[in-house]
Amino acid sequence: MNAAALQMATKGAIRIQNVDKIYDPAGAAVQAVSDCTLDIRAGEICMIVGPSGCGKTTLLNAIAGFHDISGGAIYLDGEMLCGPDRPKAEPGPDRVVVFQNGALFPWKTNLENVAFGPVMQGKLSWSAAAEKARGMMADAGLTGVEHNYPGEISSGMRRRVEIVRALMNDPKVLLLDEPFRALDSLTKSVMHEALLEIYYRNKVTIFFITHDLEEAIFLGHRVAIMTTRPCRPKKILEVDIPHPRNYSVLTSPRFRALMEETVSAVHEEAVKAFEAGEKEM
């Protein structure tokens, strides 16, 4: 995906402007996000990296509209999602979240899960949605598990069903909250490949939170390294390795140089969190 193709993708640009978020559980005001400004270009994979419990998920929840922000504003393609007069954004199919521990509805078959979005919005009839869902699941290598329940397929396959379910609504942005954290390292590499293939086909902006530095550099156009709590971008790394990328990238000298740069940048933050015994927020 060279720079030209990036311009071509018009939708899904997120502008985060001096956003603050203060939780106050039982009065002890906790500052999760402080004066965070970040611009994510349309059609870009932006990786958000930082120590555990530093407020990354809070940022994602604010964009998705799960809770409000205490200050600043967030725009999607220029249109305000949430700001001073409207602290809480409305969740919608233009910004779909893929959750860390998965949120496939266990009581619906995989096909019913994938077709859920359009049917709920009344865009497609059940049969039309099922047809489109079967097609998209086939593209993601999920033929044959349509009528199983999520509990019956491997965790790698569950992840893919969830991503396909998100894409069924042609969202402008995919918000991923450490989606591959629970997978063992080799299944993770399957998911990287699958995600890239889906990305090349759908040109959707991806806001991806992770702890895994190798994953961040391998997938991302840009990597935003966040400070410990309260989180704000400490350094933004341009990953100038051309797309489409594959595993040979992992051993290339450019990748190692970027890896070194990220590890040292993140290391101080991680050790601070490690010493302070930060319990995961």
């Binding site: 001096n18 603050d20 203060i22 005001a29 500052q31 402080s34 004066d35 205490s70 200050g71 001073p84």
Partner: protein, 278 residues
């Protein structure tokens, strides 16, 4: 840090419009509405709810009782019965549950018998208990004991079963004797379930003591008026047509039951500090 100060100001004021969102205020409102509705229904003599004596009448009946010896004596009677039956159920139930959980053979012998007796409601035992036990008190005590024993044993067995096998393996690797494992792994591991069992158990015993006392007062299986206690107090008020006292008795038992559960919950938290620090 000016950014933080500035944002604090903009946050919506705490007191102002969120007053009605505050949970306690809403609870007071809802209870007040309920009482008002009950008062109105009773005044206008509506069917069903209307037939129950109005809260005002209940209050008038209750106030003089507060310094009436007999009233507090019935509290004492009922609580004594509940406590004796309940403590007996704990003394027998907890070891029985632990034995079932630890020894497979003992479990396979006793648990099936336990399971076929469980569906029989405790109060169905009242006549049989009266025939068997020599005195009135023992019969009621036995039925209360039955009410609590099932819940306690089931919770103990369930609790012991849910202790992760890794804890046993780790303890044994570090050289624990089986008595040591029982004392320092099984007991603390089962404690939270014992407390849950007791909380539920005490609720059931109050149910049982009321019925047993009513049956004893109500000319049913238990003849003599050795009853006493809040159940008997309610039944007596019913026979004496003083309906407001029925409601007084009901609310008194409700309070007594609530206090005993709260006491057990408090004791439970005392005994399990690691759960408190969530």
């Amino acid at each position: 840090m000016s950014a933080v100060a500035e944002t604090l100001v903009r946050r919506p004021p705490k007191r102002g419009e969120s007053f009605f969102k505050n949970q306690v205020v809403r609870a007071i409102i809802s209870i007040a509405v309920f009482i008002a509705f009950w008062e109105l229904a009773s005044r206008l003599n509506w069917p069903w709810v209307g037939q129950a004596p109005a809260p005002s009448k209940v209050l008038d009946a209750w106030l003089p009782l507060l310094n009436d010896q007999g009233y507090w004596y019935s509290w004492y009677q009922s609580s004594r019965r509940v406590l004796s039956g309940f403590i007996a159920a704990m003394i027998i139930g907890i070891p029985l549950g632990l034995a079932m959980a630890t020894s497979r053979v003992f479990h396979d012998i006793t648990f099936p018998v336990f399971e076929i007796l469980r569906p029989v409601p405790p109060l169905a035992w009242v006549p049989a208990a009266i025939i068997f036990w020599p005195t009135q008190e023992l019969s009621i005590g036995f039925v209360i004991f039955l009410g609590a024993i099932y819940t306690i044993v089931l919770n103990v067995v369930g609790g012991a079963r849910s202790i992760d096998v890794r804890y046993f393996q780790a303890a044994r690797s570090m050289g624990s004797s089986s008595w040591d494992i029982f004392r320092r792994i099984i007991l603390p591991g089962v404690l939270p379930s014992i407390i849950v069992g007791c909380e539920v158990g005490i609720g059931i015993t109050w149910n049982v003591v009321v019925a047993a006392e009513m049956i004893s007062g109500g000319g049913g299986a238990i003849q003599s008026s050795a009853g006493g206690g809040l159940g008997f107090f309610i039944w007596n008020s019913y026979i004496g047509f003083s309906y407001p006292l029925i409601v007084v008795g009901m609310i008194s038992i409700g309070i007594a039951g609530w206090i005993s559960s709260a006491v057990i919950r408090r004791l439970g938290l005392l005994v399990t500090p690691w759960l408190r620090v969530r």
